[in-house]
Each structure stands twice: as structure tokens, then as C-alpha cells.
């Protein structure tokens, strides 16, 4: 009997939509938004700046044509750095996102109660 009631409750919970405005205003959701913004915004600006620096430098200057190592010029070094940058930012994001996931779990639990 108790189990039946429980499952009935679950169904009701799932079908009635939660009050989203209340969730948005909750402390944990605001914390999630703030943490995401503080991570995603600066890093996105950084990678776009890093990315566009290469074509801007090669299109308007020849500073990257000087050899860096043996015959490899700085343009190539900068080009390879784009790959390293991309992979590094992937790893950083994965690490940070697991913190976001914990907050999301908290928010979901709070919303269920």
C-alpha cells in the first residue's frame, strides 16, 4: 500500500510542472549561474582572442615569419599552440563542469521537495 502511494506521488510530481521562477530565484540556482558565467565568459573571450590573434598577425604583419626553432617559424609555433590551447580548455572545462553537475543535483533535489 505504502509503495503504491509512493509511486502515485512520483507520477504526480512528474506531471505537474515545477515553479521555474522560484527555482531561478533560489540561492543554489543563482550560485550555479554565477559560477558558470564566471568560468565560461572569460574563457570564451580568451580563446576567441587567442584564436583571432593568429590570422590578424599573419594578415597584417610579418612578425611571425621569424624562425623559432630551426626552420620552424613562430607562425607554426602559434598554430600548434592553438591545438594545445583547445585541448587544455577541454580538460579545464571537464574539471569545472563536474562542480556544476554537483550544484545541478542540489537544485534538482531542492525542487523535488
Amino acid at each position: 500500500m505504502a509503495m503504491n502511494e509512493n509511486s502515485l506521488k512520483k507520477v504526480n510530481n512528474a506531471s505537474s510542472s515545477p515553479d521555474y521562477t522560484e527555482i531561478v530565484q533560489s540561492a543554489s540556482f543563482q550560485k550555479l549561474l554565477k559560477q558558470k558565467r564566471n568560468f565560461i565568459l572569460p574563457l570564451s573571450l580568451f580563446f576567441l582572442a587567442f584564436y583571432f590573434t593568429l590570422p590578424i598577425l599573419t594578415a597584417y604583419t610579418t612578425v611571425l615569419n621569424k624562425p623559432a626553432f630551426a626552420s620552424m617559424t613562430w607562425a607554426w609555433v602559434f598554430a600548434f599552440a592553438q591545438f594545445v590551447m583547445t585541448w587544455t580548455l577541454c580538460i579545464l572545462y571537464t574539471k569545472r563542469a563536474s562542480k556544476f553537475d554537483e550544484l545541478v543535483d542540489t537544485i534538482k533535489k531542492e525542487a523535488a521537495n
Binding site: S17, P18, Y20, T21, I23, V24, F29, L32, L33, K36, I40, L43, S44, F47, L48, Y51, F52, L54, P55, I56, T58, A59, Y60, T62, L64, N65, F69, A70, S71, M72, T73, A75, W76, A79, F80, Q82, F83, M85, T86, W87, L89, C90, Y93, T94, A97, D101, V104, I107, K108, A111
Partner: protein, 516 residues
């Protein structure tokens, strides 16, 4: 005809048909058809994204460009890769949380009106079909070169195969064809790269110093500026490359094939590693072709350099490696076109038919039937267009697809997730202005108009010098979305935005996959 190459082509066709047969038994519902029922793991979807993304333009095109123009060809590799940071940081997770089958689903989650869904579907179809014509034209030329078949038959073969995969196997078959292709492409590219590197005694220093004398460009080969002379055009291309990927419908629908946002995130990470390793190897393909095939022979086979990679395989490993690499290029095209058919067909069947025409009243069975017919329709349309487009420049079509994606889709995706005041009028204006401004700018560009006959589609002076419209049309797309929003008297529904904010960030309220 090269018998070995022909047998390997057949083997690939056989393998993909077996995959399709197995997948067809698991393709019964709309969810199976559009998203493989959300059943893919992060690793599988990562491979499939890589397989969906690394097109013949990447494999054959970049190898050829690096071989002929040195550093400038490598810009494509960098842009195609860094674009995944935009996908990972900004688009993938909210998209998975808000959408169900198509990109329009995500926009409609906030603005549930027919015109919004309709315009979003129109963008998806336009981009997918332009992209597909490019792939089919490339496929026709490639098979013609490799097997000696007529262009018309080559396009028909690829066209029939892609239709079969999608109609019978839906997203499951498409995904597995893409996974197998990604694996084959990585193996093929890795083998060539290792052989090339061994010829330079596994020394980067030696490789770079020998490249200084290996080509007609001399020292200049290693410096930027051989291909892109107009700085603004160069920036415009880079802008379209880095922002276009996050608006390409056939890439976006891949995120609906996994169960949640966390798995979507994992699949982007896997894809970024695979794609990054692949694009690093394009240097070995390009340098190797320049050094061991030589400028004259590359140009002789194809003026744009598209045969550089297969020719390099021939020089390094004889007939077998040539046949293998050719078959890999063929598999590459098949996997990409299948993904494109699926993305255009789901926009037709799910957005236009189920939501707009039938107002959501179509039964499950009717929807699956509609999706299959839409796939056949999309395929036939693209095949016919590709037959007429035989002499069109493939790069022009791909540039169009990326520019339209970045101008028409990306602004709307971003503003839907992030801008509280954004409204229906803004979404519709943004999408339409992004779509038509990019199309118009390409129509008056040097891609379409050239003073000397044969260099472009029409003879005449182009009205603008930009070959890539991104630097104008992407800001225009954003601007139109802003202005449309501000001019509209309708106030944004703030409660709705709260719902979107919660759903996009937490994944609450998304439907659990139905168990069968």
C-alpha cells in the same frame, strides 16, 4: 579501372549495408529514427561527431591546400578545431537539454509558434542541402578519378547509398557508418603520416628545413600569405570557420543521440581529441604530398589539389595504399552525406509535417513514414541539384553552408539561451536576415562573378571583394535579432525565460527516453 580499389569500395559498401540491415531492425519509432533513441554512449557519439565532421573537404581539401599553399591551408585545420570550444562551452549542453529531435525544437522550446519553427526548419534545410551538394559534387569528381566512372553514375551511387542508410537504418545506421568511417580515416591518415615522418627521419626540424626547398614557393612555403591575400577576407573566413560549426544542423542533431547533457559534453570532448589529432596529421599529408608527389603532378590530377592525399598514398605505399586511401575517402563522403540527409529530412518531417501541417496530431506511425519519405525526397532533390552543379566550385558551397550557419543559426541559439528580453519577432528577423544576407553576399561575391570566363559561375565584375560573407552577415544576424526584438511591441514572456533558464542549465523537465 583499378581492381584493388574497386574491391575495397565494394567491401566498404558491403560493410555499411550490413550495419544498415542490423540498424533497420532497431528502427521503429520516431525516437529511433531521429536520435537512435538517445542510446549512444559518449565515446560512440564522439566518434560519430568526428565522422560526421571530417568531410572530404577536410581530408582531401586541406591536404591539397597545405601541399599547394603551405601555411595558409592549415588555417582551415585550426578553425575547424577551435570551433569545438564554442560547441563545448556554449552550445552543446543547453541544446541537449532543450531540444528533442531538431534544432528548431530548441528554439521552439522558448518561442512555440509556427513561424519560428518554420523559419528555423528552413535554415536547417538550406544549410544541409548546400553542404550536401558540395559533398556530392566532390564525391562525383573523386569516384570519377579513382574508378573512371562517369560523374552522373558516381553521384547516383553515392545518392542511392545515402538514401538506403537513412531510410532503413535512420540515426542508428547513420551513427555507426560515421563511427566506422572515423576509425578508417584515422587509421589511413595515421599510416601515411608515419611513413611521411619516417622519410624525414622522425625529425620535425629536418621536415621543416627540407620543405624550404621542396616546392616552387621556396622559403615562402612555410610562411602565411600564399593563398589569402586580402586581410579582411582572411579574418572573415576565420570568423565563419570558428562560429559556423556551432550552427551546423547535422552536427547539432548529434547531441540528441545521447541520454543527457553530461554525455553530450563527454562526446564533444572525445570528438575534439579525435578531430584535433586528425588535423595535426593534415600537416604530414600536405607536406608529404608537396615533397614526394610534387607540385606539378598534384596540379595535373586536380587543379584545386584535391587528389594530393591519394597520390601521396600511391607514391608511399603503391597500389594497395592508394586503393585503401581512396576507399577511405569514399567512406568519408558516405558518412557525411548520410548525416546531412537525416538533418534535412528531420526538419521536413518533424518540424514542417508533424508540428506545422498536422499540428502535433500525427500518430507515431505516420511520423515515421513521413520521416522516411522526407529522406527520399531530400536525397532526390540533392542528387538532381548535384547533377546540375557539376562544374561549381566545391569550396564555394561549403563556405556558403558555414557562413549561413554562423549568420542565421548561431545568433538565435545564443540569444534564446542567454537573452531575457529576446522575443518571437527578434528570432524570426534574426534568422531571416542572417539567412538572406549571407546568401545575397555570396551571390554578389567573387565566388559567383569573375571577369574571366570559367573562373566562376558568371562572367562579370563581383560587387564585393569578400569571398566569405561572415564578417558582414554574422554581425547582421545578431543586429537583426536585437532590432527585431526592440521594435516589437510584444513584451518577452519572463516566466517562459525562467523555464528555459532552468531547463537549459539543469536538464529538468526533459522527457525520459521511452522504454520499449
Amino acid at each position: 579501372m583499378n581492381v584493388l580499389a574497386f574491391s575495397l569500395f565494394l567491401a566498404i559498401v558491403g560493410l555499411t549495408l550490413i550495419i544498415t540491415y542490423a540498424a533497420s531492425k532497431r528502427t521503429k519509432t520516431t525516437s529511433d529514427f531521429y536520435t537512435a533513441d538517445g542510446s549512444l554512449t559518449g565515446w560512440q557519439n564522439g566518434m560519430a561527431i568526428a565522422g560526421d565532421y571530417m568531410s572530404a573537404a577536410s581530408f582531401l581539401g586541406i591536404a591539397g591546400m597545405v601541399a599547394l599553399s603551405g601555411f595558409d591551408g592549415f588555417f582551415y585545420s585550426i578553425g575547424f578545431l577551435v570551433a569545438y570550444l564554442v560547441v563545448l562551452y556554449i552550445v552543446a549542453e543547453p541544446l541537449r537539454n532543450l531540444g528533442k529531435y531538431t534544432m528548431a525544437d530548441m528554439i521552439a522550446a522558448r518561442f512555440n509558434e509556427k513561424k519560428v519553427r518554420g523559419v528555423a526548419a528552413l535554415n536547417t534545410i538550406t544549410i544541409s542541402i548546400f553542404y550536401m551538394i558540395a559533398q556530392l559534387v566532390g564525391a562525383g569528381a573523386l569516384i570519377h578519378l579513382l574508378l573512371g566512372l562517369d560523374y552522373v553514375y558516381s553521384v547516383l551511387i553515392v545518392g542511392v547509398l545515402m538514401t538506403v542508410y537513412v531510410v532503413f537504418g535512420g540515426m542508428t545506421a547513420t551513427s555507426w557508418v560515421q563511427i566506422v568511417k572515423a576509425l578508417l580515416l584515422m587509421i589511413g591518415t595515421f599510416i601515411i603520416s608515419i611513413i611521411v615522418f619516417s622519410k624525414f627521419d622522425f625529425s620535425l626540424a629536418k621536415m621543416f628545413s627540407e620543405m624550404k626547398t621542396a616546392t616552387p614557393l621556396g622559403d615562402g612555403f612555410l610562411n602565411p600569405g600564399n593563398k589569402f591575400k586580402n586581410p579582411l577576407d582572411m579574418i572573415s573566413l576565420n570568423l565563419a570557420l570558428v562560429l559556423g560549426t556551432a550552427g551546423l544542423p547535422h552536427i547539432l542533431i548529434r547531441f540528441f543521440t545521447v541520454k543527457d547533457a553530461i554525455t553530450a559534453r563527454k562526446s564533444v570532448i572525445y570528438a575534439t581529441w579525435i578531430i584535433g589529432v586528425f588535423y595535426i596529421m593534415t600537416i604530414f599529408l600536405g607536406f608529404g604530398a608537396a615533397a614526394f608527389v610534387g607540385y606539378d603532378d598534384i596540379i595535373k590530377a586536380n587543379a584545386a589539389g584535391n587528389m594530393a592525399a591519394p597520390l601521396l598514398a600511391q607514391v608511399l605505399g603503391g597500389d594497395f595504399l592508394f586503393a585503401f586511401v581512396s576507399a577511405v575517402a569514399f567512406a568519408t563522403i558516405l558518412a557525411v552525406v548520410a548525416g546531412l540527409v537525416l538533418s534535412a529530412a528531420s526538419a521536413f518531417a518533424h518540424d514542417f509535417y508533424s508540428h506545422i501541417l498536422r499540428k502535433g496530431a500525427a500518430t507515431e506511425k505516420e511520423q515515421v513514414v513521413a520521416a522516411r519519405w522526407a529522406s527520399i525526397g531530400v536525397s532526390i532533390l540533392s542528387i538532381i541539384l548535384a547533377l546540375f552543379a557539376q562544374n561549381m566550385n566545391v569550396a564555394f558551397l561549403v563556405a556558403l553552408a558555414f557562413a549561413v550557419a554562423a549568420s542565421a543559426n548561431l545568433p538565435i541559439i545564443l540569444l534564446t539561451i542567454f537573452w531575457k528580453r529576446f522575443n518571437t519577432a527578434g528570432a524570426v528577423t534574426g534568422m531571416l536576415v542572417g539567412l538572406f544576407s549571407s546568401l545575397f553576399l555570396v551571390a554578389i561575391s567573387p565566388n559567383v562573378w569573375a571577369p574571366e570566363p570559367g573562373a566562376a559561375i558568371f562572367v562579370g565584375e563581383p560587387l564585393i571583394t569578400l569571398t566569405n560573407p561572415g564578417i558582414i552577415s554574422i554581425p547582421l544576424g545578431f543586429l537583426a535579432a536585437f532590432i527585431g526584438t526592440l521594435l516589437s511591441s510584444k513584451k518577452a514572456d519572463e516566466k517562459k525565460f525562467d523555464e528555459i533558464l532552468v531547463k537549459a542549465n539543469t536538464g529538468m523537465g526533459i522527457e525520459e527516453p521511452v522504454k520499449h
